[in-house]
Amino acid sequence: MSKDTHESPVLEARGLVKRYGKVTALDHCDFDLRPGEILAVIGDNGAGKSTLIKALSGAIQPNAGEIFLEGQPVSFGSPNDARGEGIETVYQTLAMSPALSIADNMFMGRELRMPGIMGQFFRKLDRKRMEEFSRQKLSELGLMTIQNINQPVETLSGGQRQGVAVARAAAFGSRVVILDEPTAALGVKESRRVLDLIQEVRARGIPIILISHNMPHVFEVADRVHIHRLGKRLCVIDPKEHTMSDAVAYMTGAAVPEGVEEPA
């Protein structure tokens, strides 16, 4: 990796703890995301990676620990707080309203209003501006020839929906984009296209957190791989220096990475 490893992280977490009753989902977990990188987060089911991601995106509030965004301590009470700081998440469920149009979905919760009295008093939406913006963002990511930005999302294929969701995150995620299992529901060909899309987003300088179970995908696009085990970060590996079997061995506990002491 040519990047300066001492570059200060964009998003950083120290000692995060989250308990659900007697279960400790996060056990003093650390996390670092560096500028411009794709950081994959992998771990076995139940290792606590989705809890970690929810804490970073504001969907849950940790019981202890701190989160820093560009060095400043932050605390997110809701996904909207995180979004306000430029952290966008593409959820596995995509969080789109199937009956509403692509443009409506792109701007859900942050609609643009008309200038002047029509917007201020009559609260009229500026459809033209929202449609143009959506069309532009989709084309920037090479996502189309969209003929009809007003077609309902439910008329799109799985890959197209994922594309729109990624475009929405990339359009508004000025600092971090979090992708939760973006290829899990897709066919081989559509996965391919979404991976290209992820790299296009990175090429524009936005760091990405990628949660995935698909080792070939992780090893193909990630700059670093955060391996999560038993509620905390076990290690971070460089995918160029480790094999997929190593990664799987570390995350299941079959092997222990150098310099890490696995508790018995």
Binding site: A59, P79, N80, R83, T89, Y91, T93, L94, A95, M96, S97, P98, A99, L100, D104, N105, M108, G109, R110, E111, R113, F122, R123, K124, L125, R127, L138, L143, M144, T145, I146, Q147, N148, N150, Q151, P152, E154, T155, L156, S157, G159, Q160, G163, V188, K189, E190, S191, R192, R193, D196, P216, F219, E220, T243, M244
Partner: protein
């Protein structure tokens, strides 16, 4: 990466093809019709409404097709029309409101009693009645949104509670039309009639029309309207996308309470008197749901338009008046409306089936 991992290379080299192309691939006339219905669901009830008018016009001639008869329909549907607008909002959020008719009656009773029992001027009594409507709506909304009870149960209970309160509070006494006319004519304000070339309108009809147009605008062209659809479509997704689900639901139920209050005021204008035993309290909810369903609004939420609900109310009005003029047994009206309800839901299911 090991050689064995390169199984995806085939698709990679051809990944630019056919991924996110959105063009129309020649769906044919039928497909386009399907798409049109999908984007403008109010078309179906409009077609039904127009054909019903044509059929009755052919059978009954100028007796039906006169400005007087056609505006009579508007007068007859004004209460149901206003209630249907309220019901449509709730159903768009994937809820249902069984209390709309009862709330309307209670609000009309409050407007009347506050004037006659406590001597409050009618211009103040009307806002008091409307405020009570909003308060009941807020309770419904809070129970649905915060306590997470099913809307059906909440409003089933509220329907009974409101009807009982209505009888207890009014001691089942009707306030006579003559008394209202003499002492508080403002209560009957929405009953004011005016003529436009043989067509007779009341201010209540005007209120219904304005209400429908305003709601259609708000639902279509404001962020709040989009949020109502999004919450009805998929509440989890809407919440994750940044919509405040609780605020949206609360605002819908409170607005609906307010509209029910308006319906109560319309009732005083229409009947002249204030009666706690008005049938609207018992069947108003079913009438409103019927109009909404015939109007093509999906009971699963998130689909349909307020104009559809208005057309649905008009369809019922046209059938009632037309069949009565034709001298048919009134049971034919109920039979046909029953058929329409089932047909409308069938069409809705078909529309929802999208073949991408």
């Amino acid at each position: 990466m090991a050689e064995a991992d390169r199984y995806e290379d085939v698709v990679r080299t051809r990944s630019d093809e056919k991924f996110a192309e959105f063009e129309d691939s020649g769906k044919g006339l039928w497909g386009r019709f399907h798409e049109l219905l999908h984007t403008t669901p109010a078309i179906v009830p409009l077609i039904v409404l127009l054909s019903a008018c044509v059929v009755f016009g052919l059978i009954l001639g100028s007796k039906f097709f006169s400005p007087f008869a056609l505006t009579l329909i508007l007068q007859q549907v004004q209460i149901v029309g206003v209630l249907a607008a309220a019901q449509a909002l709730i159903i768009l959020t994937a809820g249902i409101d069984l209390s709309v008719g009862a709330v309307a009656v209670l609000c009309s009773v409050i407007m009347g009693q506050v004037t006659f029992r406590y001597g409050v001027p009618a211009v103040l009594a009307v806002p008091i009645g409307l405020a009570c409507g909003i308060a009941i709506g807020a309770i419904n909304g809070w129970l649905v949104s915060k306590v997470k009870l099913p809307p059906f149960i909440v409003t089933l209970g509220m329907w009974q509670i409101v009807l009982a309160v209505n009888y207890l509070y009014s001691a089942n006494e009707t306030i006579r039309a003559q008394d209202i006319e003499a002492q508080a004519p403002f209560l009957q304000f929405l009953g004011t009639k005016f003529n436009v070339g043989g067509a007779v309108f009341t201010l209540g009809v005007v209120l219904m029309l304005v209400l429908v147009l305003v709601l259609a605008y708000v639902l279509r062209s404001t962020a709040w309207g989009r949020h109502v659809y999004a919450v009805g479509d998929d509440p989890e997704a809407a919440q994750l996308a940044g919509v405040d689900r609780h605020r949206t639901i609360m605002s819908v139920y409170m607005l609906v309470g307010f509209i029910c209050g308006l319906a109560g005021w319309v009732m005083i204008g229409r009947f002249g008197s204030v009666s706690p035993s008005a049938t609207t309290g018992v069947i108003g909810n079913i009438q409103a749901i019927t109009a909404v369903v015939i109007g093509g609004i999906s009971l699963f939420g998130g689909r349909g338009s307020i104009l559809g609900a208005f057309f649905g109310a008009l369809i019922v009005g046209v059938f009632e008046l037309g069949l009565r003029m034709a001298g048919a047994d009134p049971q034919w009206t109920y039979l046909l409306i029953g058929v329409l309800i089932i047909a409308a839901v069938t069409v809705d299911q078909w529309i929802r089936k999208v073949t991408a």
